[in-house]
Symmetry: C2
Subunit: 292 residues, 2 copies
């Protein structure tokens, strides 16, 4: 297992972690500037943040600073109420692949979607098996395109509490079943993003990480699970503040040969987004060295 | 599949559903009175409610009204920080078995516990595998006693969002692994409580219900998953108001031969606990007939 205690060369900042500074939206160029100032060499930006600044602007900043992208957030949201919705999702996902290529991301992270309409509180049906079938079909279709660009797709299993509205792939086992079905030869074109916030609870986590192996472990996200958790979406904890045995899980992933970045992704309306982003980044660096 | 549309002979009310009426605590005798008035023939009371009224009082009410108990809530919380804590948990669980016997409950429901201290926001360790081992040991020990009383134990897998603080058994598969280990002959002394709020999202739900079979399907709880869900614990929905395909899951359970009660268990600080309990019970009856 790599020694993280002496520097932060393997730290990546998912830019949602500093989406806000002192409660106010922080533009991506400012986030990049603060990362570069701290010797952080990798980020994982969100599409809306890139769009707000303009893809050419961000692309230039990334190149000029020699930043690496541990991933690009995010594609997915495949299920839709009708064929037109499915087609629109596909076209938008192609665009996400193109953006990921422009930014030279390690992978495009897929948050696959749930029941159509559920995110707006108005699910158009209750057939989660149908959504899961549409997800598999959607990934299959996108994979064909992504392969032509050489952009790996990383299925991110989301915590089961998001099954209805954000992602109906909720275990690493399920994500790997999809990988087996669509990329049986383990070409590296399709794999998983292991975000411990979503999977830490799973009694089969270690065995499924072993099943994934190096070829399918495309991204590794860290944060912590707080007790109590006061919001289903935006109350993630800083590494070390919660109950996840983070080093143990990192050990499992690295035992398979994973040698990529440890990406910090924290959504925190009430705490970290209320602080100055420089303090947040400094804390990420410190905890990367002591708690990851 | 049984026809629920014409009456409510298979409806049971988990008494937490009407724990409060118009925001005020409602004593269990009042709950029982309102159930009896509506021809509801089964309940599943909580220990704290029984203790507040007195076990002899409740026992007499149950017998006089000929009420059935679809379960008794709840035993469990096995993991502890030290041996004294484990012993205290065991003794309290024996008492829960005794109470369940006195009330002639169909089973004692087990919410098995998580990381010691986590429920109070101060987990004493992060080793969920240790907690899981303690849970298995605790159930094994309690099972010996429960067998002498003829009281079946029903392991309730809780939603993964409760893994840290309430129950570290989070899938039906895991619960059945424990059943296989401790009661390989499927004697009926150990089984599961299937609460769809906790397991609806699981892609392996149908196959694990089939694996459980009639002998291990000891209880069946219904409510609904709301989008959005605003609180991790107390924002459960009334059947029909959320995204769970309830009849489909009931069909799977009944296909295995389950012929017990459909127990409504809704925790709802912001909605149902603010209403008059009579309205809530009437709604339970109506939804039992139309949405379950």
């Amino acid at each position: 297992m790599r020694n993280f205690s002496e520097n932060h060369e393997w730290l990546s900042i998912n830019t949602a972690t500093v989406r806000k500074s002192l409660g106010v939206d922080l533009p991506l160029p400012k986030i990049i500037e603060a990362c570069v100032e701290r010797g952080i060499v990798a980020i994982s930006p969100w599409r809306d943040q890139v769009a707000a600044a303009g893809l050419p602007v961000i692309s230039k900043l990334v190149k000029n600073h020699g930043l690496k992208l541990s991933g690009y957030c995010r594609g997915g949201m495949f299920p839709a109420a009708d064929a037109a919705g499915m087609e629109a999702a596909y076209l938008d996902n192609r665009k996400a692949v193109d953006e990921a290529c422009e930014l030279n991301a390690a992978c495009l992270v897929l948050v696959v979607g749930g029941l159509p309409g559920a995110l707006a509180g108005r699910a158009v049906h209750k057939d989660i098996a149908l959504s899961r079938a549409q997800v598999t079909d959607g990934i299959a279709q996108l994979l064909e395109y992504a392969k032509t660009c050489g952009m790996p797709l990383a299925i991110e299993p989301l915590h089961p509490m998001y099954a209805a509205d954000r992602a109906c792939i909720n275990t690493l086992e399920h994500a790997l079943d999809v990988c087996d079905a669509l990329d049986p030869d383990q070409t590296g074109a399709l794999g998983v993003a292991v975000d411990m916030y979503h999977v830490w609870w799973d009694p089969k986590l270690q065995s499924q990480i072993q099943r994934a192996g190096q070829k399918r472990l495309l991204a590794f996200h860290v944060c912590d699970w707080l007790t109590p958790t006061t919001d289903l979406l935006n109350d993630r904890g800083m590494m070390g503040d919660g109950v996840i045995d983070i080093p143990k899980i990192r050990g499992w992933v690295e035992a398979e040969g994973f040698s990529g970045f440890s990406e910090v992704e924290i959504f925190s309306t009430g705490n970290w987004w209320q602080r100055d982003h420089k303090e947040v980044l400094d804390t990420c660096i410190a905890r990367h060295q002591t708690a990851v």
